[in-house]
């Protein structure tokens, strides 16, 4: 349903996040990371979350802080291990957080499938690797493929450059990354933006995420 709502308090914008929810978190490294929303998610207090994001946090801020606060039961990501991902590393080795490693293209495509009403799809990515073990395979036109299932979020938390009153979004440079895909794949999408623009001020040809995918916008 329409009418994107606008909020200045990110905690208010996350009203309804519940224990056990799956939360898609945008960003590739810090570009496109919804920093205020991730911080607010700690304040919200929901536990047992499944976090779907490209990485698993750096240092002790953002997703790492969420992990450290003990709110995360499972991480689905392509690249958890980084130079300063020690919070995740520790929890993982202690068996306190479950990990599903997904090739980055499958991560994006599985969320795209959830948003696009695709029940499952066959991809050659991962064939013959540990990450395809136990997955159904099929040979199509002589090439082996793995069956991959959609990844759906209860929530998507993303960052964008600007929103208009309809909830239409534009992004900036490579900070676009997972945002437009996650926005389509969640029951409720919450976006933190740097600016809001007037109705009619956004070029309809250049809208990247139409407002239909945007439920709540957090402004500064």
């Amino acid at each position: 349903m329409g009418r994107t709502t606008f909020h200045t308090d990110p905690v208010e914008a996350l009203a309804g996040v519940a224990d056990g929810d799956t939360v898609l978190v945008g960003g590739f490294g810090m570009a496109g990371m919804p920093v205020r929303l991730v911080d607010a998610l700690i304040d919200v207090g929901a536990k047992g979350l499944t976090i779907v994001s490209n990485n698993a946090g750096n240092g002790e801020t953002g997703l790492a802080a969420l992990l450290k606060a003990g709110r995360v039961a499972k991480v689905i990501c392509s690249f958890p291990r980084q130079a300063d991902s020690y919070v995740f590393d520790g929890l993982y080795r202690a068996g306190e957080v479950e990990l599903e490693v997904v090739p980055q293209g499958n991560l994006a495509e599985r969320m795209r499938a959830a948003g696009a009403g695709i029940g499952a799809f066959y991809t050659p990515t991962g064939v013959g690797t540990l990450l395809a073990e136990g997955k159904e395979q099929r040979t199509i036109d002589g090439r082996d493929h793995v069956l991959e299932m959609p990844i759906r979020g209860d929530w998507a938390l993303i960052a964008a450059q600007a929103a208009d009153p309809m909830g239409n979004l534009v992004y900036r440079k490579t900070a676009r990354n997972f945002g437009p895909v996650m926005a389509t794949a969640a029951a409720t999408t919450v976006v933190e933006v740097r600016e809001t623009v007037d109705l009619g001020a956004m070029d309809p040809e250049a809208v990247v995420t139409p407002g239909i995918f945007v439920d709540r916008v957090v402004t500064s």
Partner: protein, 226 residues
């Protein structure tokens, strides 16, 4: 051909209105059931006229599957732009806040369940909510489906808008389809000149909500012979 044994129909709670709905009245009646701020796709033909009856204060946003959200009204005179048409290939205008996208993104939006309502015409709707609106089944007909099958399965609620009886008098709400299906168990509500019906998916029956220009008992008899 007018009455059908075995149509599971409940008319017990129906409101009765003295006049049948004319085309404009039917469009207005459909418009009344479109929730505020809904994202809506209006099928080609009669469903398009629902737009004329939406109150701007409802904040409804129209989707057209050829790649636009926030579609405006029909274009007139020098507003006509051959690059800006709706799914019925009728020129329309671009209101502020619109956006454009390509066909795969547009159908992803539809098929991904992001539209709240779509309104479609129909040849037949079955008691299970099966929809027939793409093919008469005539052996020499050239099949042409367009976006009908995608619309049928994509929206959160599918509204059908049609006359209740065909020209030969046969009911278009049927125990089971005799025309080729467009989608199964997909219709939620049926708006006709003589009555508004809800499909009760759990119990596999049709519930008359409102009768127009006739009584609930009369509709029950004409639809079921009972």
């Amino acid at each position: 051909m007018t009455a059908q044994q075995g149509l599971p129909l409940d008319v017990s709670g129906a409101a009765e209105h003295p006049e049948p709905l004319d085309r404009a009245g039917l469009a207005a009646r459909v418009a009344r059931d479109v929730p505020a701020y809904a994202y809506v796709n209006l099928g080609i033909g009669q469903p398009t006229t629902v737009a004329d009856h939406l109150d701007p204060a409802q904040g409804v946003v129209l989707h057209t599957e050829n790649g636009m959200l926030g579609m405006g009204r029909a274009a007139h005179d020098d507003e006509v732009d051959p690059d800006l048409i709706n799914a019925g290939k009728v020129p329309v205008v671009e209101p502020p806040g619109a956006s454009y996208f390509h066909h795969a993104d547009s159908f992803a939006m539809m098929r991904g369940g992001h539209l709240d309502v779509c309104v479609l015409g129909a040849f037949q709707v079955s008691a299970a909510g099966d929809l027939a609106n793409w093919h008469t089944g005539a052996p020499d007909a050239i099949p042409a489906v367009g976006g009908a099958m995608d619309l049928a399965i994509g929206a959160k609620q599918v509204f059908v808008m049609m006359s209740l009886f065909a020209k030969d008098g046969s009911p278009k709400i049927v125990p089971s389809l005799t025309y080729p299906a467009t989608g199964l168990a997909c219709v939620d509500r049926v708006f006709t000149d003589l009555g508004v019906f809800a499909v009760d998916h759990e119990r596999g029956r049709v519930v008359l909500l409102e009768a127009y220009g006739t009584t609930a008992a009369d509709l029950a008899e004409r639809l079921t012979g009972a």
